[in-house]
């Protein structure tokens, strides 16, 4: 697990508070940390170096504000700079019919899946898309596209007996015209950027179909190679955008920065899941916090939305508000949290928590708690007051724990309930507000820095 950059920098800058100005000298260590963070996030060496130099220029001479730690100040500058670099000017798809889109990329980057996802997305935006199978090499690649097209009710065109990709492309243009399709998606075969013959093939296809958009489909977990790949493809087919795939993984995604920085080709879309609807416009702010390892609160919130039963959550919130919360609710809440994945993976999404290690011990503790609650009768769970000595004894035996464990859990539960009661009052509201502010509230990469207004 990567230590959050914010934590590292706070540490490096510890002695700088109130020292007046940021200078090249007092920032040297910190910038080295930033460089290491970027390199371990797979940002290309050269891009990392240039980036550091730019940040240095921006930082030097800045006053160290009293309310913010210098570490946070530098991180803010870095974050803004990153968003700027990643985002820039990402254009919309031109409003044009027929629209011609071509997908290129390495093997296994997700071209076929992205073609189908984009087709679905275009349908939602008022187009009638046609998927065109131009991968004549990989076994069953045509079948894959055909199945996806059928599944998403998109048009499909292929010539199974032909290997001449440019010819297939040309015929597809006619087919689309004859059948009233107004968005053409050309799914090409995966190829190495240095494979001369195959690169010629896509160049030919490009000349024939004259696409409005040429997208490089790139895996967000790409390593240092990303720069080579993007550069070569850009030279060969003049890319208009990058689609970043598998962003639902946990790669830090430095490759995105490298590709954008070196080629200037904007990152336009992102694949964010297995399902056809998991496709969206690229968000530079989220990517920036991800690369810096500052936690991705937005993703966590989304993950929670995906996994937690909304009704269940509302019911729970209502119960908490009324302080009418029993052990049964406690259990169901615990099970909801478990759906989010291991505690470790939840924490790794939170800023500043990346380096907190949750060992088996914590997970076992959760399991033990669950076992204890599960050993209670429904009545006991709903009304914990029933739990006298002999019942506690039985529960301990049933769950394979000690009576003291049961007692401890009940004590914790009582405290929790007390807290909920307290929250009902005016003091509680204030507390909640403060907590919300701390959590950053709403989208946007950088979590609100304590002490920065608000």
């Amino acid at each position: 697990m990567f230590e959050s950059l914010t934590d590292k920098l706070s540490h490096t800058f510890r002695n700088l508070r109130g020292k007046g100005k940021l200078t090249e000298e007092n920032m040297a260590d910190a910038l080295k940390e930033v460089r290491t963070a970027l390199l371990s996030a797979d940002v290309h060496f050269r891009v990392a170096r240039n980036f550091i130099n730019e940040v240095k220029e921006k930082c030097v001479g800045q006053e160290v504000t009293k309310s913010v730690s210098p570490g946070q100040q530098v991180v803010k500058i870095i974050n803004d700079e990153l968003i700027q670099l990643l985002g820039g000017d990402s254009p919309e798809i031109p409003e044009k019919k027929p629209l011609r889109v071509m997908m290129v990329g390495l093997h296994g980057s997700g071209k076929t899946t992205s073609s189908a996802k984009m087709g679905r997305w275009l349908t939602a935006n008022g187009y009638r898309p046609l998927l065109i199978a131009c991968d004549v090499y990989r076994p069953a690649a045509i079948d894959q596209l055909e199945q996806l097209a059928a599944q998403e009710s998109l048009g499909f065109y292929a010539e199974r007996d032909h290997k001449k990709v440019a010819k297939i492309g040309k015929n597809a243009l006619q087919y689309a015209k004859d059948n009233g399709y107004d968005a053409l998606l050309f799914d090409t075969a995966g190829r190495l950027q240095i494979d001369k013959d195959l690169i010629e093939e896509v160049k030919d296809l490009r000349k024939t179909i004259i696409p409005d958009e040429v997208f490089l489909v790139a895996d967000s977990a790409l390593g240092q190679e990303a720069v080579n790949v993007a550069q070569h493809f850009h030279e060969a087919v003049d890319l208009t955008g990058i689609i970043l795939t598998k962003l639902d993984g946990d790669a830090r995604g430095g490759a995105a920065l490298s590709m954008k920085a070196i080629t200037g080709v904007p990152i336009r879309y992102a694949g964010i899941g297995e399902k056809p609807e998991d496709f969206e416009r690229f968000h530079p702010d989220r990517m920036a916090s991800r690369i810096l390892g500052m936690g991705d609160v937005v993703s966590l919130v989304e993950k929670a939305q995906e996994n937690i039963d909304q009704q269940e959550a509302e019911k729970m919130a209502e119960k908490m508000r009324k302080a009418d919360f029993n052990l049964e609710d406690f259990l169901s809440q615990m099970q909801q949290v478990k759906k989010l994945g291991s505690m470790q993976s939840i924490l790794s999404h939170l800023p500043g928590m990346g380096n907190v290690q949750i060992g088996d011990e914590e997970n076992n503790k959760m399991k033990r708690t669950e076992a204890i609650v599960l050993s209670m009768t429904l009545q006991e769970r709903r009304n914990p007051k029933l739990l006298n000595g002999s019942r506690r004894n039985r529960i301990a035996k049933g769950s394979g724990t000690k009576v003291s464990d049961v007692n401890q859990l009940l004590k914790q539960f009582t405290q929790m309930k007390k807290m909920m009661k307290a929250m009902r009052g005016g003091k509680g509201k204030k507390m909640m507000r403060a907590m919300q502010e701390k959590m950053g509230g709403g989208a946007g990469g950088l979590p609100k820095l304590p002490g920065m207004g608000g």
């Binding site: 997700g110 090499y137 069953a140 690649a141 190495l192 240095i194 895996d219 790409l222 190679e225 990303a226």
Partner: protein, 307 residues
């Protein structure tokens, strides 16, 4: 072995040429200077070895340079190779057969890493070595994954057990295990669906495959290999860690090394998890799966000869 090395070098030779040539003969007979050292740093980082290994290699070369300002590129390369060799010592896996056949090998990995192609190539390789092999298509999720494997199996005359898309992958594994036993196959290769390692429900599905196999033979699967895309970076280490926790990995296959990627992430994985590497994928043809060897790998990465 010589044939293997030639192939391996052809794959990785593109690599050493493209990466190390812009350095202007850095790894040639020219003497090093400060600029060359910085370029060296860049080229080392670009191999995806990870910050730790890269810094170790750099330190060794720099300290040698401090002692001897006449250090030549070739000598620096040899130092680099020897540091990497130390890091990778013992990382070559040996494929052992189970006591009672079939020996079951499960191939796992994230989407698009090359599992299906690797399954086909590995089956072909074992068949050519005179082993009897059965292939199981347990990727029942991706569109046309079964067809992809079936095309390979038809082309290479391999036996395949498959169901249709959407079927229970563990059920296919169960049937395949039964068939492998009944047909007296020596090896059973199981191709699984690509899954991102941070999706817990998909990882649970793997656990089910394991349970089902163990019903037939408590020691199965005998091998569980992560198929990793060689062009990916540091996340491969994370992938290996999580797949290892969820399923228990016994090995690694690094694919797509016929381009300019050098798959340096395998160093990070071996360093942290001591998971050995069995094969490297060096191209799209059925012959392009080659056994991994520490010496050959390190020599090829640093553009050294095969002596």
């Amino acid at each position: 072995m010589a044939g293997f090395f030639a192939k391996f070098k052809r794959g990785l030779a593109k690599t050493s040429r493209t990466i190390f040539s812009p350095i202007g003969g850095l790894f040639g007979s020219k003497k090093l200077d400060a600029d060359a050292l910085e370029e060296l740093e860049e080229s080392l980082y670009s191999a995806d070895f990870g910050v730790e290994t890269t810094e170790e290699i750099l330190e060794e070369i720099q300290s040698a340079y401090r002692k001897n300002k006449d250090l030549r590129g070739q000598e620096a390369a040899a130092i680099g190779a020897s540091v990497l060799k130390q890091v990778l010592a013992g990382s070559a896996g040996q494929l052992t057969a189970a006591e009672t056949p079939p020996t079951v090998i499960v191939l796992l990995g994230v989407n698009g890493s090359g599992k299906t192609t690797t399954t086909a190539k590995l089956a072909h390789r074992l068949t050519k070595e005179g082993r009897s092999v059965l292939v199981a298509a347990c990727d029942t999720f991706r569109a046309a994954a079964v067809e992809q494997l079936r095309t390979w199996c038809d082309r290479l005359s391999l036996d395949l057990i498959a169901s249709q898309r959407g079927a229970d992958s563990a059920a296919v594994a169960f049937d395949a295990m039964q068939a492998a036993k009944a047909r007296g196959k020596e090896f059973l290769l199981i191709d699984t669906a690509g899954r991102l390692h941070n999706k817990s429900h998909l990882m649970d599905e793997l656990a089910k495959i394991r349970r089902v196999l163990a019903k037939h033979a408590p020691s199965a699967p005998h091998h569980a290999w992560l198929v990793a895309d060689g062009s990916l970076g540091s996340n491969t280490v994370e992938q290996a860690r999580v797949f290892n926790e969820a399923f228990g990995l016994t090995g690694l296959v690094v694919t797509k090394l016929d381009g300019t990627s050098r798959g340096g992430a395998l160093a990070g994985i071996y360093r942290e998890l001591q998971i050995p590497v069995f094969f490297l994928g060096l191209g799209e043809g059925e012959e392009d799966l080659q056994p991994y060897d520490v010496d050959h790998y390190t020599q090829a990465v640093f553009g050294l000869g095969d002596d």
